[in-house]
């Protein structure tokens, strides 16, 4: 088995998930100049809701893919509602407050959601029932599972859809206009409160999908999973250039690849001194390097003035 190809495949899978989550961070930042640190928790809620529904249906005899879709169908509205509520309760009242205030409420919301999830689902790890067909395919000497292919393809389709929405529709124009200059957008008849709400709702829908993907990919979910995932997706957004949609996609995929290849080779490179459990170190090493050497990210611009 070719380790390099294998790690590239794993990196693409991981990167697709990071990209979906990073989009939620970057869209909100682009429109409001705010880092929604509670976004990782929305992913967690998506995973938990989907997993709960899927577990309940796992013995129903329905085909696995149908069960997974029902799980997603339950997670989507819950996450969208959560995202909508977060903005309404925690951010909108602080729209004119200093930038530090919503940052603190963001962390507060994150803690509240984590604890809420702990109360509902407990502190235990929940296993993802083996409902999905396991098929393995050989490519270039490496294996890729049907699930991995599905994750990559679905993420790519969703990102393409998002680009079309933002570039080609009236709502997308309203979003871009609001991002550039909210008062002027308002003067043109754009209801910026609605646009901001919708931005949270769309980001949360992507998070719901990402949540299902993560729990299916690692066969596990728990109330704390959103924290580290959120941090990494945030790193991906910063890597690409926060506020930039294409940047979040690129940053997500790159970060997935860096982590995966890093974890694959770190043992060889350090003569076995460091093992693949140092995977998480790479993400934050990347974050530090980007902040030091290129704070505007790979495709970003003019970050400093808004941050």
């Amino acid at each position: 088995m070719d380790i390099f190809i294998q790690q590239v495949i794993n990196g693409l899978v991981l990167g697709s998930i990071y990209a979906l989550v990073a989009l939620g961070y970057t869209m909100v930042y682009g429109i409001m100049g705010l880092i929604n640190f509670a976004h990782g928790e929305v992913v967690m809620i998506g995973a938990m809701v989907a997993l709960t529904v899927i577990s309940m249906l796992s013995d129903s005899g329905l085909p696995g893919i149908v069960i997974a879709l029902i799980g997603l169908g339950a997670a989507l509205p819950v996450c969208m509602g959560t995202g909508f509520a977060i903005e309404r309760i925690a951010y909108r009242p602080l729209r004119r407050a200093p930038k530090l205030a919503p940052l603190i409420t963001a962390i507060g919301v994150s803690i509240v959601l984590q604890n809420l999830a702990m109360l509902i689902w407990g502190r235990n790890y929940h296993a993802f029932p083996p409902i999905l067909p396991t098929s393995e395919h050989e490519i270039f000497g490496a294996t890729i599972t049907g699930l991995q292919i599905a994750i990559i393809v679905i993420a790519a389709l969703m990102m393409a859809g998002l680009i079309l929405l933002v570039q080609r529709t009236k709502l997308g124009r309203a979003m871009r206009a609001t991002a550039e200059n909210p008062p002027i957008a308002q003067l043109m008849g754009v209801d910026i409160n609605r646009v901001i709400s919708l931005t949270f709702v769309i980001g949360s829908a992507l998070a719901a999908v990402a949540g299902l993907m993560v729990s299916a990919n690692y066969s596990i979910a728990h109330y704390y999973m959103g924290f580290i995932l959120g941090l990494k997706a945030f790193t991906a957004a910063v890597l690409g250039g926060i506020g930039n949609i294409a940047g979040a996609m690129l940053g997500g995929i790159l970060l997935g690849l860096i982590e995966s290849l890093g974890a694959g080779y770190i043992g060889d490179l350090t003569g076995g001194f460091l093992g693949s459990h140092y995977q998480d170190v790479f993400a934050f090493f990347v974050l530090i390097c980007v902040l030091v050497f290129r704070p505007s990210g790979l495709v970003g611009e003019k970050v400093a003035e808004r941050a």
Binding site: K170, P183, L187, G189
Partner: protein
């Protein structure tokens, strides 16, 4: 649409202060349908502040604005646009990262209805509306004569073209009153002349124009009536020929005693 000559906008005793600075003091003026109305005055006289009150960006501290026979709600840019007031800015405020075409299309927001569900489903009504928005935007690009720059990002347009684009974007909201804040600033003679023709055309097409301008020649040649602000108060309002020779106006502009 009602007849030319009726009162379109009536400002009654508009006041606005920032801390201790009184930017507007009891400014009253009336603008009639179909006219080009000039608002002039030295720097800092309160012209732009008046614009901001008119378009809902500022809330006046006193007074009342009546537009088209009904009270204008203070501090609601969205409402002002809906009621038919559009404006441009002294320092151009286009959406720089959007194309010229898209800038105008955003201007159509105030007159269109379809929402999110439509954006996702792309139903027939949404597609028809989108096509109508695009058609109107194309018309307006031709109207202000920048059709060849349709797909360029707004920030890459020349200064004069940006001014024209901003006017087109304002017109996209189907205004009854178009308020232009120093549209000729930074323009050369030829560009100013082209602008004069454009503004006259806009008026002839039925839009009332309120013009803030420093270029006295342009104002006097173009406006039907002119009001002069000085230190936040209106000191004169009349036809250009009279305003030009009003001693208070001359004093305001030349500062103090004139021999």
């Amino acid at each position: 649409m009602s007849g030319v000559g009726e009162i379109l906008l009536e400002a009654k005793n508009i006041g606005k202060h920032f801390g201790g600075v009184r930017a507007l003091r009891d400014v009253s003026l009336t603008i009639r349908r179909g006219e080009i109305y000039g608002l002039i005055g030295p720097n800092g006289a309160g012209k732009t502040t008046f614009f901001n009150c008119l378009t809902g960006l500022y809330t006046p501290n006193g007074g009342e604005l009546m537009f088209d026979g009904k009270k204008l709600q203070a501090s609601a840019p969205h409402k002002a646009a809906q009621r038919g007031i559009a404006r441009t800015f002294q320092n151009i405020r286009l959406f720089g990262n959007m194309t010229a075409m898209e800038n105008i299309m955003v201007g159509r927001h105030v007159r269109t209805r379809t929402g999110v569900i439509g954006a996702v489903l792309r139903d027939a009504r949404t597609r028809a509306e989108e096509a109508a928005i695009r058609r109107r935007a194309e018309e307006l690009l031709h109207y202000v004569d920048i059709a060849d720059r349709a797909d360029d990002l707004a920030r890459n347009l020349s200064y004069g073209d940006q001014r024209r684009l901003e006017i087109a974007r304002a017109l996209a909201t189907d205004p009854q009153l178009l308020a232009l804040d120093e549209p000729a600033a930074g323009m050369n003679g030829t560009e100013t002349e082209e602008l004069r023709v454009l503004i006259e055309g806009i008026r002839n097409d039925g839009v009332t124009v309120l013009l803030i301008e420093h270029d006295v020649k342009l104002v006097m040649g173009l406006c039907d009536r002119v009001a002069v602000l000085d230190y936040g108060a209106k000191i004169c309002e009349d036809v250009p020929a009279v305003v030009q020779h009003d001693p208070r106006v001359i004093e305001a502009y030349l500062g103090g005693a004139v021999a």
